[in-house]
Amino acid sequence: MPSVFLQLETNDGKLHIVERALVKQMGIIREMLKLECGDTTEVIPLPRVDSETLKLLLKWCESMKSWTDDAEVSVRINILKRLIQRSGGDDEVLFQLITAANYLQMDSLLDAGTQLLANIIQSYDSAEELRLRFSIANEEE
């Protein structure tokens, strides 16, 4: 009988024991479990995700569990914003979450994250303001 918990190792060497039901939202792990016939006691490495980011991802998964149908993107964006605000609220956190969501194939988080960034971009009136906000170097520099 498959174990209720899985072991995930982040790129900073830390081991995280998480509920199997929670990480099924991570497409890459879901596929891995299918290949392993659902039962693995081995540690699953996540070389592109650090500890702090994984904790946030798990909080996201926990929030999504309570939605039986797929939540609307506006609802997901609000959940994501609260998550980021509680973690210090800077762009780096958002970028790490989006990068991790892309790697782990977490579509609902990826959609919410990219939409949130698009909304931020659209709120700016000029390219120069965008460049400053998101530290896009001028190629002449």
């Binding site: 800077d90 780096e92 970028f95 990068t99 000029s126 965008l130 190629e139």
Partner: protein, 442 residues
């Protein structure tokens, strides 16, 4: 959210730390002008934008708001359009300042085949789209096939110069002059001509020369276009390629229907009308059905009733007698859509099932016809029709027939006779109220 945590030793977070796939997901969600601005910031972003544009900007909609916020000047606007031009095929300009269009005057955008200019009806003076702007369209978009102009101050003078045009739609253009339409119909090989929208406004044009355009397949006009100086109904019915004729009528529905269903001089070479659709409130169904009965070769009939607000939102009622009479007159029907009515009893509708041997689809969406008793009566009739080779499809969405009937044993046992569909919404739910649409056999 803030832009960076000031830790001193960590670099500021940059958008460029995201990979190309993720950046593409973000960029495709901003408007096309912002995509252009983002692409100019950095070579990597430029290649991402180009990749998106190669597949995703065949249809582009531009609004004034996109450019006003960033204070885009003429030079910047021109550079943006020229960058986008190789990818665009269909362009919609929604309340764009016409002076931006004029900036393109000495350029040619050959890839664009469809243009919508949806003007702002409140603009005045130099900022309205005028005849000279039609000449500009000819220069700038030499391969234009489809044109829609709304709220423009044109007379129609230069429309005939758009030599490759085959679809033309004029909406709320209040300065059109009939004298220019002769050349328009004579010179252009139009397939679709639409002058119907907002024709409650002063969109009057004498279309006496409409018949000079033998390539017309789909015409949308208003009732007064049929008989401005002379009755053009017969000429329209003689058009050799006509497939669809839509006529908006607020107050003369019966008159329009009788002109076409009962032409005084039936065209010898006219093609039979095989489809008819109408949506709206009628105050004399008996007369309406009497005229409909003249369309003897009708195969598809689609009527959408609307609730009468004065009657507290009640559905319009159809009497059995009228329906039975109509059923006997239209034996060729293959589809009947009778949506949003209150029926006196199931008997009128059942007459269609009895008389129309080719009937495949019976759509009673939003109609009240005494619930399950209609279905069982229908089944009883179908069971006796040994010549039927396929089941009758019955669409019951939002009617007084409960959707659970689909799972009833009696229905499941008789799927070879009747196939009940509780989900189909029926064709063209967006049809305008007051429009009579005729479809001709090909």
């Amino acid at each position: 959210m803030t832009s960076t945590a000031n830790t001193g030793s960590t670099a500021a977070a940059s958008l460029l730390q995201l990979n190309d796939d993720v950046l593409a997901l973000i960029v495709r969600q901003v408007n096309v002008y912002q995509q252009y601005e983002i692409g100019r910031m950095n070579r990597r972003l430029e290649s991402i934008v180009q990749m998106l544009w190669r597949t995703r900007v065949r249809s582009v909609a531009l609004q004034d708001e996109m450019f006003r916020r960033s204070g885009t000047n003429s030079r910047q606007f021109l550079a943006f359009i020229l960058a986008l031009a190789p990818y665009m095929q269909r362009l919609s300009c929604q309340q764009l300042d016409v002076r931006r269009l004029r900036v393109l005057s000495s350029h040619t955008l050959e890839g664009i085949t469809s243009l919508e200019w949806l003007g702002d009806g409140n603009r005045r003076g130099r900022v309205r789209f005028v005849d000279e702007d039609v000449r500009l369209l000819r220069r700038v978009f030499p391969n234009l096939r489809r044109l829609k102009l709304r709220s423009c101050q044109i007379t129609g003078k230069y429309l005939c110069d758009l030599e490759f045009l085959n679809e033309l739609c004029l909406d709320d253009c209040q300065f059109l002059e009939s004298q220019h339409f002769r050349d328009l119909f004579r010179q252009l090989r139009l397939r679709k001509f639409d002058i119907m929208e907002d024709c409650d406004e002063v969109n009057c044009c004498d279309l006496a020369d409409l018949h000079l355009c033998p390539t017309l397949e789909h015409i949308k006009i208003a009732d007064y276009h049929l008989c401005m100086e002379s009755d053009i109904t017969q000429q329209l019915l003689r058009l050799p390629r006509l497939q669809k004729l839509s006529i908006y009528s607020k107050n003369f529905v019966f008159d329009v229907l009788s002109r076409i269903a009962r032409p005084s001089n039936p065209p010898a070479a006219g093609r039979p009308i095989e489809g008819f659709r109408f949506s709206g409130i009628l105050h004399d169904h008996e007369r309406f059905f009497r005229e409909l009965g003249n369309l003897r070769l009708l195969k598809r009939l689609e009527l959408h009733g609307q609730a009468e607000e004065e009657e507290g939102g009640q559905l319009q009622c159809l009497e059995d007698r009228m329906l039975r009479q109509l059923a006997s007159q239209l034996p060729e029907l293959t589809e009947l859509h009778l949506c949003g009515y209150q029926l006196e009893s199931p008997l009128g509708l059942l007459e269609f099932v009895i008389n129309c041997r080719q009937l495949r689809i019976l759509d009673i969406t939003r109609t009240r016809c005494h619930g399950e008793s209609f279905v069982w009566s229908c089944l009883g009739i179908l069971a006796k029709q040994r010549w039927r080779s396929q089941p009758l499809e019955l669409w019951i969405r939002l009617s007084d027939v409960k959707p659970e009937i689909v799972q009833s044993p009696r229905c499941l046992d008789n799927v070879n006779l009747i196939k009940i569909d509780a989900k189909q919404i029926g064709p063209s739910m967006d049809c305008f109220s007051g429009v009579l649409k005729f479809s001709f056999a090909r």
